[in-house]
């Protein structure tokens, strides 16, 4: 109760500070609209459905690319952690590509796939895949060898060990890798949407881009707030339950 009150006061005073800065008229209201204007934009965009539609379009692209990225990255990360050859080849490739900011994939994706959903998907997958792969690889590598030894004495080997021992044992790393992958996917998709206009659907990035074109600062700030909110909500609903489970089982304290 006390914690939520503190949080509420904090955000309320942030908005108050914003209002004070607007009232002080240091900047033109075109550059810094009052909070109420932004709220009005949000209300209107919600009622005409453009915000909801944009969020759905964006989240659909994000989820699809993210899930594909994880489905490829997870097993590949496990594989590179177990094999020297794979680690010298795919592992090094992943490390290199991970350092490439994912927005750098956009020009290539456009040339390969054109202004299409496939280009978006490609950028999101590239943003997710390598960081998930590397996190899982690191996690599986740092496992105490005693787990595998103990499992062997109970008759576990090969794929069973991989699925029932190495994968669950690296779960803390897998979850933090998936979280990082999510963050990268989210960033790369936003960059791609601002960069490229697709006729197949306007996402949040496009709304942001149109806001700039129209000099509508209330829209720009409003969409930014929505993007922040979705990021927070994803963290709380997708990853927090996992992290709570891990803390409870592993006994690491929050």
């Amino acid at each position: 109760m006390k914690r939520s009150l503190v949080a509420f006061l904090f955000f309320a005073s942030l908005i108050a500070l914003w209002q004070i800065l607007v009232s002080a008229q240091i900047w033109s209201p075109v550059l810094l609209p009052p909070p109420l204007d932004v709220a009005r934009y949000l209300g209107q965009a919600i009622s005409d459905g453009s915000l909801l539609e944009g969020s759905v379009v964006t989240l659909k692209r994000l989820f699809l690319g993210y899930v594909i990225g994880c489905l490829i990255g997870l097993p590949l990360g496990l594989a590179t952690s177990r094999s020297k050859y794979l680690s010298d080849t795919i592992g090094v490739l992943a490390l290199g590509l991970q350092t490439l900011p994912s927005v750098c994939w956009v020009p290539l994706a456009l040339l390969w796939f054109g202004q299409s959903e496939a280009a978006m998907l490609f950028v999101v997958i590239m943003g997710t895949l390598w960081s998930v792969l590397i996190a899982v690889d690191n996690g599986a590598r740092s496992l105490p060898p005693i787990y595998v030894r103990a499992a062997r004495t109970m008759g576990s080997s090969g794929l069973h060990t991989l699925a029932m021992v190495i994968l669950p044992a690296s779960l803390p790393f897998v979850v933090s890798g998936m979280k990082q992958g999510w963050a990268f996917a989210w960033r790369s998709l936003m960059a791609a949407e601002i960069y490229v206009t697709l006729l197949t659907g306007y996402g949040l990035g496009h709304l942001l881009h149109f806001g700039r074109e129209l000099n509508a600062m209330d829209q720009v700030i409003g969409v930014m707030l929505v993007i922040i909110f979705i990021g927070l909500a994803a963290d709380k609903t997708l990853f927090s339950p996992w992290e709570r489970f891990l803390h409870r089982r592993w006994g690491t304290t929050t």
């Binding site: 105490p144 004495t153 109970m154 008759g155 089982r249 592993w250």
Partner: protein, 267 residues
């Protein structure tokens, strides 16, 4: 009851170690951990391997468990050569090695799930039997980190016993525990051993512990690792680690250990 065959004691294993040699080579040096070691263990026997660190006792245990292979010589359990790990040889390590992603029941079930002919209900019944046996019936759904060091080793014991192995390898399982917890576990292990009739190979550097638990104490000497002397312990059971007779036996063995220790220091 359908699970009863699983809970019946099988005839215990007989272990034959025949002229086994094992050395570890690094870039700079080579260490002969075991040099031409032979040892026979009879059915249901509790054998303690004792010696200073580096004498090869843990190496021998790893070979018996099948976690490692000898350079020369052979090991056989029940007449079958040991070529790798096997469910008929359970292992308990110095570190509890429990899986933190599973609760107590899940850990004990791990080995049972790899036994093909059991169904789910039977597995759970067997796991519960062993968790009760080690005195942790109230902690069946506890997480590993919620248990004390002694309780973790009890779970590890239950996990090693659950697949009903014929031989149990224990590698200094109580070394990291405090004295009071250890004494309780000596009593409990003797009780469990008399109930389940396993052949046990127990590695320790604690002579008293060895005398308290073993039918036979095998003394190792290092550089190269060899069997130096063997002692039969014919004290009645259950044994109390603080009894005078036990202390006398331990002193006798410690004396045998001493000249050697002095000699290594002199080298």
């Amino acid at each position: 009851m359908s699970t009863s065959p699983e809970l019946i004691n099988q005839p215990p294993a007989k272990l034959v170690i025949d002229h086994v040699t094992k050395s570890f080579k690094s870039q700079r040096s080579s260490l002969t951990a075991l040099d031409d070691v032979s040892l026979d263990v009879s059915e249901g026997e509790f054998v303690c391997l004792v010696g200073p660190s580096g004498c090869g006792k843990s190496t021998l245990l790893n070979l018996i468990a099948g976690l490692d292979t000898p350079e020369s010589g052979t090991l056989a359990s029940d007449g079958r050569p040991i070529t790798g790990t096997g469910r008929e040889r359970g292992v308990m390590f110095q570190e509890h090695a429990l899986f933190p992603w599973l609760d107590v029941l899940g850990n004990v079930l791990f080995g049972l799930k790899l036994k093909p002919h059991l169904n789910k209900a039977e597995r759970i019944e067997i796991a519960k039997y062993y968790i009760e046996l080690v005195g942790l019936g109230r902690f069946i759904h506890a997480n590993v980190h919620e248990l004390s060091g002694g309780m973790k080793q009890r779970v590890a014991l239950a996990r090693a016993l659950a697949p009903n192995p014929r031989l149990l390898c224990m590698d200094e399982p109580f070394a990291a525990l405090d004295a009071m917890t250890r004494e309780q576990l000596y009593a409990d292990l003797q009780g469990i051993w008399s109930k389940r009739k396993k052949t046990i190979i127990f590695v320790t550097h604690n002579v008293r512990e060895a005398v308290c638990l073993g039918d036979r104490v095998v003394l190792f000497s290092p550089n190269p690792g060899r069997i130096r002397e063997q002692f039969l312990i014919d004290l009645p059971r259950p044994r109390d680690i603080n009894s005078v007779e036990l202390a006398e036996h331990a002193t006798r063995i410690t004396r045998a250990l001493k000249p050697h220790t002095v000699q290594t220091v002199a080298e």
